[in-house]
Amino acid sequence: MRNAFVLRADERGYNKILSTGATASYVGGHPDAFITRFSSFNFGDYQDGRPGFGRIRVFGDEAFYHPGCSYNMHPHHNFIICAFVLEGRLTHINTLGGLEDLGPGDYYAFSAGSGGLHEELNRYAEPMRAIYVWLLPDQLYLPPTYTHGHFDAAAGMNRITPLIGNDAGAVTISQDARISRLVADGPGAFRYRPRSPAHGVYAFVIDGTLHCDGATLKRRDSTGIQGAEEIVYETGRGDTDVLLTETIM
């Protein structure tokens, strides 16, 4: 049965995490540095929303302010942590040997598996904005992996481009999930067929306007749909940018 929810931008959890005081060991940088995080699903102190969607547990719309602002090096297991850089530059460091300077369009999938540490750092004055998606893996304690990719918005204009999953050219992960990007420069109808009715799709509007199932979604609004054979996403006037996360439910 088709089921849907709409989550407005201002209904999400919000945290401002300082580089001083109780969170100082977690967030680094100049005393003025801070991170803002809007959470679509319950995470950390935000526990008033949905617990997740399919295998998604964390969907964070985050911004790192001021040079040196970072999540300091910290450990993970199991979760597949994906980051999609929207603005600014993200220095990602991990214990698999990854050291990368990522810009807009760049993304990575860090599968922490049997254990790994990472740091997420903005070294510049310009704020760094990224979407962080955490997925449960399909097996516990896999060998950890790190893979990065790049989304070319010009080449991907007016279509849906798979970034993560088992499509050709996408970064593979050990989960029945697929993350795609839909960018359009004007009105259009984009049909999305989930792998099965047992899959759901969480569509997050990075920017622009999206119409779907009778709802109009604006910047940072989102909708989760499950049990659909096909979903039609209609983009509005101007530029629209959407992240689509499909997952087994």
Partner: protein, 70 residues
């Protein structure tokens, strides 16, 4: 899996997992310790996330696992 089967729990703050069958002997929890028998104020040894923010999961282990979760 019956209700009485030994279960696995995952920390939603970092992905650390607790397996009732294995316990966490290095943290004073012998193998077989049930999740319900762990104190409510127990926190994730890796990241400090409270016990209430763990989720029971039925995810199989990867081949060759579990080794001691280090």
């Amino acid at each position: 899996m019956t209700d009485d089967a030994l279960k696995r729990w995952i920390c939603l703050g970092c992905g650390f997992s607790y397996d009732e069958a294995l316990g966490l002997p290095e943290h004073g929890l012998p193998p077989g310790t049930r999740w319900r028998d762990i104190a409510d104020d127990w926190v994730c040894p890796d990241c400090g996330t409270p016990k209430a923010r763990f989720e029971m999961v039925e995810i199989p282990y990867a081949e060759g696992q579990p080794r001691a979760a280090a």
